[in-house]
Structure formats: structure tokens, C-alpha cells
């Protein structure tokens, strides 16, 4: 037995505006069949004008606290918000989210690892808990990719959606349901140009002048990303399982970053696992980057798909390149509602 971070609550929030493949086909040279066959995506949610990443994160965080049985007087020591689309370059979005949730004096920071961000944030919060620096933590993945997409680029505009998911962790022991018992993280900065928003940071500003219009928006080299994503998600999942002492055959569910259904299937195949272990909700939400794993977890939990004690492998890959995986024993969670609407404070 040892100390571990234990998952005790999950929350999810999707903006209400549904955008179907047919909606996109009205203004892009694409079709429902093209998008669905290549990505597995049927629709995604995009935030309405005026709604930011922090707005979505706040709602997901509130729902995660409720799922954990924590009320308005909850004390949380640490808030980590994984996002690629913060509300502004400065300050970080997490302090405002913590305050809006009512978490007074919590340590709060943003974490940038693109689509691997949620797993990176889980690892950071888990480390803080295991080191005794925090008794509990709120880990949020939230994105509004609709604000960084080039909506005329049919290769990226059809893939990404907006949303937020959150998890509450507390100190516990590594033998109880909900325990996070193995992590693996990595990166390869030589591949930084494969997934990028080139402008808006010091590299572009230091160069002077106005950036090219395309450089303000998200760019991705899809085929290179496909093979790298499968390779790293597979290897990282194996490493996390090994650290947890889990033979791969004992894994009940693989919750991968919801990048593309064909990537998720290939990862399942490379791991030698039954296709039924691969969890996906991207037909309804698209690729929500750092929000995708908590959204998929909340969706599976709401559907009653997982049982307490099930071995769940989380595995992610994203810009940087970054990748990471975590071994999670499924907790005995109260009901999680993913689409419930409540007013944002």
C-alpha cells in the first residue's frame, strides 16, 4: 500500500450549439460521408460568441465538485487547468476559474500540453497529492478550438469541437478504486511544426511585423500526426500499465485522446486489445483536445459503461509533440450527468 491520488468526481460541460457535418458541408467542400469515414465524427459543439474557455471550465469544475459530493463550502488546494486556448496570454485562466467556482486561496495554474494536457495535468496534481503538498485537487481540461480554427480549412475545421471536462482528486491509497497508479509522460520538440498556431507568441512578436493571416490559426500535418499518435499512444499506454503492474490483458477500457476514431482503433490493435475496450464519444463531440479524455470518461460514466474496480488506461498524444498515459482503477462514482444545463456564474 502507498499514497495515491484517487478520483472522486467527474464533471463535463458542452456548449449547447450543435454543428453537424451537414452544417459544415453547406460552406466547405466536404460531406458527412467524407468526415465520418475519415474521422468518426458526426457532430461537434461550438461555443456561442462571447463564451470563453474559462466559462466552460467553470461549469465543468462545478459539476465535478458536485459529483464528488462537495458543496459550496468546498476547500480545494490545487486547480490545474489544461488548455490550448486560454482566455488570454496573461494572466492564466485557472485563477479566475478557481475564484468563480468559489475556491478561495487555491493554488491555480494553466498547463499547456495541447491534446495531452489532461494527462499531464492529472500527473502534476497526482504528484502534488502524493508529495503531501495538496490534500485534493481539481483537474480541468477545457477548450474553445472554434476560436483558433481556420474555418475555411476543411482539413482541420471539421475535426475540432469545444467543451470542458473536470476531475476531483483526493489523497488516498493505491489499492482503492479510483487510484491513479501509473503514469508515463514524454515529448519530442523536434516535431513542433506538425501541430501549431505559429503567431501570437514571443517567437512571432520578436520577429516583428504583422503575421501572415494563416499563422494566426491552428495548423496540422495530419498524416504525420496519425502515425506518430498511434506509436506514442501505444507505447505510453504500455509504459503506464507496466508501472501500475498491470498485464495488458487485464485492462478493461482504453480511453484515448479522442483525436480520430481510426487512430483509436489502431491504438487498440497495436495494444492487442479487443475492439470493445476502446472507448469513444467523438461521433458527438469531435476532437476537443485537452477536454477530450475527461469528456469521454464522463460520457462513459453517465452511460454506466464502467464498473468500480475496472482497470482503465488513459492515453493521449498532442502538439509539441507531447504524449502521456495513466493507469486508473475505476472509482465507485455517483451519477455523472454530462449534458445537464445550469447557469454559469
Amino acid at each position: 500500500m502507498g499514497t495515491a491520488a484517487v478520483l472522486t468526481g467527474l464533471g463535463a460541460h458542452l456548449p449547447p450549439r450543435r454543428v453537424t457535418n451537414a452544417d459544415l458541408a453547406e460552406r466547405l467542400d466536404t460531406s458527412d460521408e467524407w468526415i465520418a469515414s475519415r474521422t468518426g465524427i458526426r457532430e461537434r459543439r461550438w461555443a456561442d460568441p462571447g463564451v470563453s474557455t474559462g466559462d466552460l471550465a467553470t461549469e465543468a469544475g462545478l459539476r465535478a465538485l458536485k459529483s464528488a459530493g462537495l458543496g459550496d463550502d468546498a476547500r480545494i488546494d490545487l486547480v490545474v487547468l489544461a488548455t490550448t486556448t486560454p482566455d488570454h496570454p496573461c494572466p492564466a485562466t485557472a485563477p479566475e476559474v478557481a475564484s468563480r467556482i468559489g475556491l478561495v486561496d487555491a493554488a491555480a495554474y494553466d498547463l499547456a500540453a495541447v491534446c495531452s494536457g489532461f494527462v499531464y495535468a492529472l500527473e502534476a496534481a497526482s504528484n502534488a497529492i502524493r508529495a503531501g503538498r495538496a490534500a485534493n485537487a481539481l483537474v480541468i481540461g477545457a477548450e474553445t478550438y472554434s476560436t483558433i480554427l481556420d474555418h475555411t480549412d476543411r482539413t482541420t475545421a471539421v475535426i475540432f469541437g469545444d467543451g470542458a471536462g473536470a476531475a476531483v482528486l483526493r489523497a488516498g491509497d493505491d489499492t482503492e478504486p479510483g487510484a491513479l497508479t501509473g503514469f508515463d509522460l514524454g515529448s519530442d520538440g523536434t516535431r513542433r511544426d506538425c501541430i501549431t498556431v505559429p503567431a501570437g507568441g514571443s517567437r512571432q512578436r520578436a520577429a516583428g511585423g504583422e503575421p501572415a493571416e494563416a499563422d494566426r490559426y491552428f495548423q496540422m500535418r495530419g498524416k504525420e500526426v496519425f502515425t506518430a499518435a498511434v506509436a506514442h499512444m501505444t507505447a505510453s499506454a504500455r509504459a503506464a500499465a507496466a508501472r501500475a503492474g498491470w498485464p495488458l490483458g487485464t485492462v478493461a477500457h482504453v480511453v484515448g485522446h479522442q483525436a480520430n476514431l481510426r487512430i483509436l482503433r489502431a491504438v487498440g490493435e497495436q495494444l492487442g486489445l479487443d475492439p470493445g475496450t476502446v472507448v469513444s464519444n467523438l461521433d458527438r463531440v469531435g476532437n476537443t483536445s485537452a477536454a477530450s479524455i475527461p469528456l469521454a470518461l464522463a460520457d462513459a460514466a453517465a452511460a454506466g459503461r464502467f464498473a468500480a474496480g475496472d482497470r482503465v488506461l488513459l492515453t493521449a498524444f498532442g502538439g509539441g509533440f507531447t504524449w502521456g498515459a495513466a493507469a486508473l482503477t475505476w472509482p465507485d462514482l455517483a451519477a455523472v450527468t454530462t449534458d445537464e444545463r445550469s447557469p454559469i456564474r
Binding site: K223, E224, F226, T227, A231
Partner: protein, 83 residues
């Protein structure tokens, strides 16, 4: 020996395209990938399969650049890939 190894790798690629990725039955060693009616992600998926089955990292561009199963097999064999 080399010829046999390249032929085995070529046959592996052709068989995989037909069995897993619904390439036409008449797909052959010298069929152009572009003419098989497969979508743009299939070569990336095939690259993943070949990486797993040969232990040599294969990229989509290795396959699309070669153009045919036989040319891809020869290029990958030169890098040490075998099935």
C-alpha cells in the same frame, strides 16, 4: 535472399491492403496506391501496421513516395524491414 525478402514484404503489403483496407482483388505488386480507391488515411494506417509488424518505423510518406507495394517493399527492405 534479398529478392525473397522483398517479395515477402511486397506480398504482405498487397495482402494487407486487400484483406484489411478493402483494396480491389486485382491489387498487385505494381499497382499504384493512387489507383486503389483507398482513402487518404489508409496509407497512414498501413504505415502503422508495417511499423508494428517489421519493427522499423514507417511513415505514410515512405509509402506514398514509393507509389506501389513493390517499390515500398524495396525501400523498406533497404532500411532493414522484414516480415
Amino acid at each position: 535472399m534479398t529478392d525473397t525478402a522483398v517479395a515477402d514484404l511486397t506480398a504482405f503489403i498487397v495482402a494487407r491492403l486487400k484483406e484489411k483496407y478493402e483494396a480491389p482483388e486485382e491489387t498487385a505488386a505494381d499497382s499504384a496506391f493512387d489507383d486503389l480507391g483507398i482513402d487518404s488515411l489508409v496509407l497512414a494506417e498501413l504505415a502503422v501496421d508495417l511499423t508494428g509488424d517489421t519493427g522499423v518505423p514507417v511513415e505514410e510518406s515512405d509509402l506514398s513516395g514509393a507509389g506501389t507495394p513493390a517499390a515500398a517493399a524495396a525501400a523498406l527492405h533497404a532500411r532493414g524491414a522484414a516480415v
